[in-house]
Amino acid sequence: MPAEAVPETVNDSRRNFLLKSFSAGAAAWLAATWPAEVAAAEAAQKMGAFTYFTPEQAREIDAMAAQIYPTTDTPGAREAQVIYFIDLALVTFAADKQPVYARGFGELSQACGGKSFASLSGDEQIRVLTAIEKSAFFKAVRDDTVMGMFASPQHGGNFRKIGWQQIQFDDSLNFRAPFGAYDKA
């Protein structure tokens, strides 16, 4: 998904953050396809700026997450708002990963030849990530993206249980047999 280089400000709304990462056409498509998610993102905008990331850093991590768990014919990390999960994680249970991220922004910039990762084309982004996929930084962002997809929504990601829906995980926590296709009588 090509991203437009739209400057972020601290006061940018969550919706703007979400939508400015997409081309105008994609943003319209996103709003049309997942109106509830986008509306909720908009409603959530008053939550304010990021806790750990600068807006520029958030945009870079969000772009990485969007390649790690891409939007295909189904929503991806961006729609699941994984960036908010990671931002929160880095000041809570994953605070010990802060140095990995702090170093990682330098490594990422170097791998991008000094450019912003988010400003690269999709193909370029994939090339950069493939080149750094063995690094501690990439592994951290990969694992945090996956956790943001599949942790309970209360932790900031997995928005509207997008991740759980994709792996058909029912979080009812109370089931009666039969459970699956093979134990049906």
Binding site: Q67, I68, Y69, P70, T72, T74, G76, F93, A94, I126, L129, E133, R142, D143, T145, V146, M147, M149, F150, A151, S152, Q154, H155, G163, W164, Q166, I167, Q168, F169, D170, L173, N174, F175, R176, A177, P178, F179, G180, A181, Y182, D183
Partner: protein
């Protein structure tokens, strides 16, 4: 809860509140003795189990107070394959909360079969190994298996087969649901002529002693049970011990030494009291019961060395910590066309029992094992590492993740392991824990025979999955054990003080008022899954100890 002063000489101090310690505490307190239970871990949600969380992220990154397992930061351990290697950071962990490992375990509760106590006599031993008969027979322990099953609350199938120990009374209640994995096991079993049984579990399937039946939430192994359906020590035993008015449980109490006097008798224990700034407390006791698990029990004995016991307490034989069996596994995964939804219900499913018997001639290796069905359960674990044959990120990862979700069956095998003198728990010479004590060091390398067993079970798992209709099968690479919560053998039971640590009533040969009651006593490891046997051993040990103590003499 009754409170005792440390200066008060209580009848019994019990170190550890898990499968062994909780039975001892309950039985001793019920017979009128004063008991203090010391648990190194926190309270967990003891008495307010509805507060256990089912949140996978919180469970992965618990706060110190919410931890249910050991904290590798505060309690590091080291690992090496052989004594000639320098140990590296280890990943051994175990339940560490009031109720011990039973608070979070998968609750598989298989009895040993009668012959599993006499494998050396019946099947011979193997040169260079510690395979030996137990000093007790199945008939001696059988009544205590029954007592444990009914007092703790077990569910299981009432099926007669020589592959299961015969149970005269049957299990107290119906087994857990078979699940799709069990149904697929049955498909394979029909083709391969195998015997499938539902899981035998310390999980209740009907209301029992004021506790609710399992609701199949699926957040089972690794989580506390909110409805008290898992018959953990913390809900099935300890509340009854406390209700006698004779038993005090002290959480956050990390024992560093069992103290002895000039005559070589135990006088009590020294522990760090976390809620009191880790101050040292000396609890006086007439008798010490050590039930700290198959790895912490030998470590504590080795930490308790003195001029009189220079090689560690109760270690004149030199075998404290030796003959460690952590358990071997390995298996295979199969992908099916339709959803199994294995994340629903108890993590451990049905079992195939045909390879439990010792058939050295037929299979070319000594021992046996139990095949069990397990699915991929929780979403984060699945996302991080549950996808086969796919990249770890990107569109290909996402596609495979969505396609494989809920369609996999994993067969986990629980395989016998030779007790070897060279496999051991001892004290690391360099690494210290947060209290400044030497960290646990684990040395373990399976006998080549056992690796044949692992390979055998991986092959059999592939065969079963194919017969069940899996369209894709992935075999695990054979891997040797490195540690784990099923540690056994490190304070073996025996009649000869020169080659064992405790006698058949669990009294330390060297210390008349020290009893060791946990997985460390197991001479041979059975087919892994030790908890039911630990419970039965403890009920048996308690009966003898109560009789002896009532007659004023614990030196049975």
């Amino acid at each position: 809860m009754k409170k005792y002063q440390p200066s008060e000489t209580v009848d019994f101090v019990v170190i550890g509140s898990g499968a062994g310690g909780a039975v001892m505490a309950k039985q001793l307190a019920s017979n009128g003795f004063s008991v203090v239970v010391l648990e190194q871990g926190p309270w967990g949600a003891y008495g307010h189990e509805q507060d256990y969380n089912k949140d996978e992220l919180i469970n992965r990154f618990p706060s110190e107070e919410d931890m249910l397992m050991t904290d590798p930061k505060r309690q590091p351990n080291t690992f090496r394959r052989t004594a000639s290697e320098k140990a590296v950071t280890g990943h051994h962990s175990y339940g560490c909360v009031v109720g011990g490992g039973t608070v979070t375990y998968g609750a598989s509760s298989w009895r040993h079969l009668p012959w599993e106590f006499q494998e050396a006599s019946l099947f011979g031993t193997m040169a260079g190994t510690g395979v030996a008969d137990w000093p007790i027979t199945y008939d001696e322990i059988e009544p205590f298996y029954t007592q444990a099953e009914w007092e703790i609350g077990n569910s299981g199938p009432n099926i007669k087969t020589p592959l299961l120990a015969a149970i005269a009374q049957g299990y107290p209640m119906e087994p857990l649901p078979l699940k799709s994995s069990g149904a697929l096991f049955e498909v394979a079993a029909k083709k391969l002529n195998l015997t499938v049984v539902p899981n035998v579990a310390a999980i209740i399937t009907k209301p029992w002693n004021g506790r609710a039946a399992c609701i199949n939430c699926g957040m089972c192994s690794g989580y506390g049970c909110q409805v008290k359906a898992r018959s953990s020590s913390a809900v099935a035993l300890l509340p009854y011990a406390v209700a006698t008015g004779n038993c005090e449980i002290r959480a956050h109490s990390y024992v560093r030494e069992i103290s002895t006097d000039a005559a070589g008798k135990a006088t009590g224990v020294v522990y760090f009291d976390k809620k009191n700034n880790n101050q040292e407390v000396f609890q006086k006791a007439k008798v010490v019961v050590l039930s700290a698990n198959g790895t912490e029990t030998p470590r504590l004995l080795l930490l308790s060395k003195s001029a009189r016991f220079p090689h560690g307490l109760a270690n004149s034989s030199g075998v404290v910590g030796k003959y460690l069996m952590t358990g071997n596994g390995g298996g295979a995964s199969g992908l099916f066309s339709d959803p199994l939804n294995e994340y629903k219900g108890c993590v451990t499913g049905a079992a195939i029992l045909d390879y439990v018997p010792n058939d050295g001639k037929g299979r070319g290796w000594y021992g046996g094992g139990r095949m069990t069905a397990r699915g991929y359960t929780s979403p984060i674990a699945y996302g991080l590492s549950g996808v086969h044959d796919a990249p770890s990120w990107g569109a290909g990862y996402k596609k495979a993740l969505m396609e494989q979700a809920n369609r996999k069956l994993y067969i986990a095998n629980f395989i016998s392991q030779m007790p070897l003198e060279t496999n051991m728990v001892d004290l690391d010479p360099d690494v210290k824990d947060a209290w400044g004590l030497p960290a646990m060091r684990i040395t373990t390398q399976s006998h080549p025979n056992d690796m044949k067993g692992v390979e055998f079970f991986i092959e059999k798992s592939v065969e079963v999955l194919k017969a069940a209709g899996a369209h894709t099968v992935w075999a695990d690479a054979p891997r040797d054990a490195t540690g784990g919560a099923h540690a056994r053998g490190t304070c073996r039971m025996g009649n000869d003080p020169r080659s064992s640590v405790v006698n058949k009533y669990h009294r330390a040969h060297d210390v008349p008022n020290l009893f060791i009651v946990d997985g460390s006593n197991m001479v041979t490891g059975g087919r892994n899954h030790p908890t039911m046997t630990i419970s039965a051993l403890a009920f048996r040990a308690a009966e003898h100890l109560v009789k002896a103590a009532k007659s004023g003499n614990v030196t049975i």
